[in-house]
């Protein structure tokens, strides 16, 4: 029932043109692995900004579903190979923020902890859209480096018209 509402909402909120990305999939756009809208709430959280933004950009909560954030935040001692542990209090505050503003258009049961593993990310950044050579450029370095090409990614702005791919 909850899934049905989420799917219905996802369809209601998407523009008619967005259907082109659907590929006839019945699990929702991108097979139900769709980022939320907006990806970043108007009111952000200072702890999230500070703690998640020390080693990389603070990724917007809407980029992943709630279950992904719960998984990620419960494994910070081994955070993609680094120790990113927080105090219990900080962890709770940030988890609450991430879960509250997680993707509202994710209807799939999947819950990846890497944003780059999601279907919407892969579709938007496939070889047709971005040449494989671009990822190897020094200014890009990593698929997690949103800011390399999305200058306002910090503010949750991933608008296609404001992309600037470094040479």
């Amino acid at each position: 029932m909850k899934t049905a509402i989420v799917v219905a909402l996802a369809f209601a909120l998407s523009s008619p043109f967005a259907m082109a990305d659907d590929h006839g999939d019945h699990g929702g756009k991108y097979g139900g692995e769709n980022r939320g809208k907006p990806v970043l709430p108007a009111q952000t959280n200072a702890k999230w900004q500070q703690e998640c933004g020390s080693c990389h950009m603070a990724f917007a909560p809407g980029l992943l579903p709630a279950e992904s954030w719960r998984k990620l935040m419960s494994g910070l001692d081994k955070h993609f190979g680094a120790d990113a542990t927080l105090t219990a209090q900080e962890n709770k505050e940030i988890t609450d923020f991430l879960v509250k503003h997680a993707s509202n258009r994710w209807s799939a049961a999947s819950a990846p902890t890497r944003i780059t593993e999601s279907a919407w990310f892969q579709r938007k950044h496939d070889g047709h859209e971005i040449s494989p050579a671009v990822w190897k450029r020094a200014a890009v370095k990593s698929r997690a480096n949103c800011l390399a090409c999305h200058p306002d990614a910090n503010q949750g702005d991933f608008n296609e018209h404001r992309i600037s791919i470094p040479k």
Binding site: C55, H56, M57, F80, A82, D83, A84, T85, S142, N145
Partner: protein, 130 residues
């Protein structure tokens, strides 16, 4: 004239102040507990520690050649502001933050916790870089 006097007073008191950093002082107390033979922290040992490569990385890998350098995260490429308070006064001003990063980075670089002596030596080196 007043300025001169203050400078002179500061210069005279410097040797006494060398260990008067409150965060470093708490590590000094802990180092004495760890090792009764402990005398004092050494900037020289701290410098060797900063540059020592254990496995894939050293402190210098991300923090740069000296604590005055602008660092760069080895994996993400994100900039890391200099460690030395002489160029970045915000450093070593928050004990919880210092302890948080020692815990994380010692785990990442050494795969273990650092001793109080290592932390104090590290601080002695970073504080000595003017």
């Amino acid at each position: 004239m007043n300025k001169l006097l203050i400078s002179a007073a500061l210069a005279l008191s410097l040797p006494l102040c060398a260990g008067a950093h409150p965060i470093q002082d708490s590590y000094r107390a802990a180092a004495k507990q760890e090792n009764p033979a402990f005398k004092d922290f050494s900037a020289q040992r701290g410098q060797a520690f900063y540059n020592a490569k254990t496995g894939e990385a050293a402190c210098a890998t991300c923090h740069g050649d000296t604590p005055k350098s602008q660092g760069k995260h080895a994996k993400t490429g994100k900039e890391i502001l200099p460690l030395a308070p002489s160029v970045n006064p915000e450093r070593f001003s928050d004990a919880a933050k210092v302890e948080k990063w020692f815990k994380r980075n010692c785990n990442d670089v050494l795969s273990r916790a650092c001793s109080a002596q290592e932390k104090g030596d590290f601080m002695a080196y970073v504080l000595s870089v003017k």
